[in-house]
């Protein structure tokens, strides 16, 4: 089978996925934008490459929906940075979105690679 997909290329985010992933990255502890992007890249084993041009607007949208809050704090290495954390509403949204995405992924898998 010839490879259609080039594994060296990072995956692009599907519509609406970045927001969920941001929420997930904040599940454990508050983090700043750079931290979030690093978290996503590491967790996806560098399949996702986070573009700041998408990350920042996504963060703004989440702030707008009151799913996350932001606060300026000192980072462990003494630098000031803006930290985002989940709101209770955001936590609920994460649960909802997560279960929906899992269903979606399973369904996609069942269709694309059926197991007989």
């Amino acid at each position: 089978m010839s490879t259609v997909d080039d594994p060296r290329k990072a995956l692009e985010f599907l519509q609406g996925t970045l927001e969920v992933l941001i929420l997930r990255s904040l599940q454990g502890a508050p983090n700043h934008a750079y931290g979030i992007s690093q978290f996503l890249e590491q967790q996806s084993e560098y399949e996702f490459l986070v573009d700041n041009g998408s990350l920042y607007p996504a963060l703004q949208r989440l702030l707008q929906r009151r799913w996350i809050r932001s606060q300026w704090k000192k980072s462990p290495n003494g630098r000031r940075a803006k930290y985002y954390r989940l709101t209770p509403l955001g936590r609920t949204q994460l649960v909802v979105a997560k279960s929906r995405w899992m269903r979606f992924v399973e369904a996609m898998g069942r269709v694309l690679a059926p197991q007989r």
Partner: protein
Amino acid sequence: MREWWSKTCGALHFRRGLDDDLSDEMQAHLDLMTSENLERGMSDDEARASARRAFGNLTRTQENARQAWQFPRFETILQDVRYGLRGIRRLPSFSLVVILTLALGIGANTAIFSVVYSVLLKPLPYPHGERLVWLGESTAQAEGISITWINFEHWRHDGDSFENMAAFNGTDLTLTGRGDAVLTHDWLVTSSFFRLTGAKPALGRFFAESDDKPGAAPTTIATAECWQRRLGGDPNIVGESVVLDGTSYQIIGVLNPGFGFLTRSADFYLPLGRAAGASRKRSDHGSMRALGLLKPGATLTQAKTNLDAIMQRLALSDPGPEDDHRAFAAYLTEVMGNGIRTTLLVLMSAVGLVLMIACANVASLLIVRSTARAREIAIRVAIGAGRARLVRQLLTETIVIAAIGGALGLLLAGWCLRMLIVIGPRDIPRLTEATLDLPVLLFAAASSVAVGLLAGLAPVFNAGKVDLTTALKEGAPTAGTGRHGQAFRSTLVIVEVAITLMLAFASGLLVRSLIAAQNADPGFDPRQLLAIELQLPESRYKSDDSVRQYYGQLSQSLRAEPGVEDVGLIMCPPGAGDCGDYWYSILEKPTPARDDVPLSLFNRVDANYFRVARVRLIAGRNFNDSDRAGGPRVTIINERLARQEWSDPRLALGQHLKVGGPYMEGSTLEIVGVVADVSQMGLDAEEMPTFYYAFSQKPDSAMVVTMRTNGNAAQWMNSARRQVSALDRNVPIQSLRTAEDWLGATLQRRRFATLLLGLFGGLAMLLAAVGIYGVLNYWVSARQREIAIRLAVGAHRSTILRWAGFHAARLAAFGIVLGAIGAWIASRWLESLVFGVTARSPLMMLLAGTAVIAIAGLAASVPLWRATHTDVVCNLHDA
């Protein structure tokens, strides 16, 4: 919901805070990345640069993030508008050309649209005007003929699709007892008429049903204009009487000013049922029509089916000669726009095409400007402007210019409209009501925006193709001159040439038609012929004898005037149109089937008329003194009628024409003569079959006295007035004009349409010339260096001329071919407006093509001259 709320807050308060916050945050982000890079052992500069690279486009990220908080780009729009205005100030002459071009295009369109809107589209000024239906009867041959009173009564009673119905009938009555006798124009209407048209009384009351019955006391309602002009504006007029045609009518009310019905100006309204209600026969036709108000939701088809069913039922219960008659129903708006619709639509399309040319010119100018701005655009892209953002800005700039052009166009339209109303024919309904009202303003605004978008899109397509590196490097004013832009501009020129050809062709056809109509043979000699239109008051001239005597005496005294050669009488002079038509049949020929009975106009003339008017006698004899009342009844027919029935007009002589056909009552007339056709309906209309009664046998109180003079006919107007008044000062002169004026008036609409279309054709040529000049000039400018090199290496100037000329000729040729095809297709549509030439006249196409080529050649000559006179040294030095 939440997003909207937070956006509102965002828009109101912490916008500025957000900006600072975002840039702080991103700076912190960069710092974090830099410090990590430093930890990895990079140098200071390297660490910073690498972080910068990894972060991506800082400005655009910030702008995108900020936009999450904004309403749909309102702020950027304002900013773009400001920028557009600044752009206009920076290039005043460029902007002036664009704005003027648009103002011309939009102004002309708005003016014509306001006429179209007022005449064809605007709801009638009556309550529920959109549900008002014009009603008449129909036969197999004629639609919308008059309704008889009894049929109307049945319709009114059983017409379930109608909320209400009112009949009306125009009439002219002589008002006496208040100074000189005057002829008044009046409407006979049923009592429901005012409710249907929503009229309000200024004084008194309207007709009650009891006023509208046979035997009711004579009552009348005056219009506000009549009350002012004829009744002295007397506030106590209600209750007083006026004498109309010898009958005294009590005035019961005065209408509100401004109430009008159809195009006819009116003095008095009288109850119709009082006279017509006595009618006993279902086939008693007058010239009554009716208005119906459809029930809400009822369709025209339903209404017609409804009335047809009534007619079919009546044919069984009350059989008569007109059992095949059916109902005619059409929306009042449509009936009023009839006859002028095609003309207006052609004018609207023509002026729309002019706007397209204007639009193409502006687009091509904008492309030039945007190529000149390629560097600026490249810089914007380089510092992070998104493509969508850039497109929006360019479009907003164009729309700002278009809006200014539109506003100026509106001023122009207001001025043009006043001109149109002044020069427009009087008989176009509601033309004088045309104003720049809301729908017209919306039209102007919409066309401005549309033009802005259309013209603005051209440079946008170009802008997307800007090659950053070259644009930034070159920096020459011609930077970014793409093959693409040039091709697009060439297409615009081709389209302009094509449209201009179409307009030149159409206006040429109309001018040719007008000339043909003006030179058309009217069938008589209208020069030095004066026409006095009279209407004898019926109260004073009751008997046929008194009418004959009056006209006999008047003819005699006029003939005695010095310079008057002869005097004749006709009921309906050439150019006056249709004064009545009726069925006929020829007794000697097989009886036609009920549906095939032919129609003919009828007219009345005395024994002198044909000689006075110089109408050629084709066969037989003229009327003479032996055709007396009580003697054998005779008629003279026109050539059209004769040829319709016989192969040779002479065969008609001695045969008998039965008025009314085999199925209607009417007298039988012996055909004693055949005369040439005259332009009865107008110089540009087809002649109709006509038969003439002898005035001596069938006199009429309303006749037109024609005087053949030996000089300018208008000079005899005063003596005509004096003689009429000397004979009986109670006889009003209805009109006094020369026969040439009667005929000329029939061409008013044609002159109007031709003048406007000619103007649009001229405007199109002017704009197209500017467009061709602009494109070619730019083409030459862009190639100046190339030309200079060619000249330097020894090319002859004629080679350059051939090369550039070929380019120009190719564009023109494409445009002309395209335009010829378009004109050929559109000519079908012009057929009804064309007279004396065919709509697909190859000669006219040739002329239009020649004119367009001449204009294109003229416009191209300057750039071509520039091309051949390129200064080699200067250009090569610059390089």
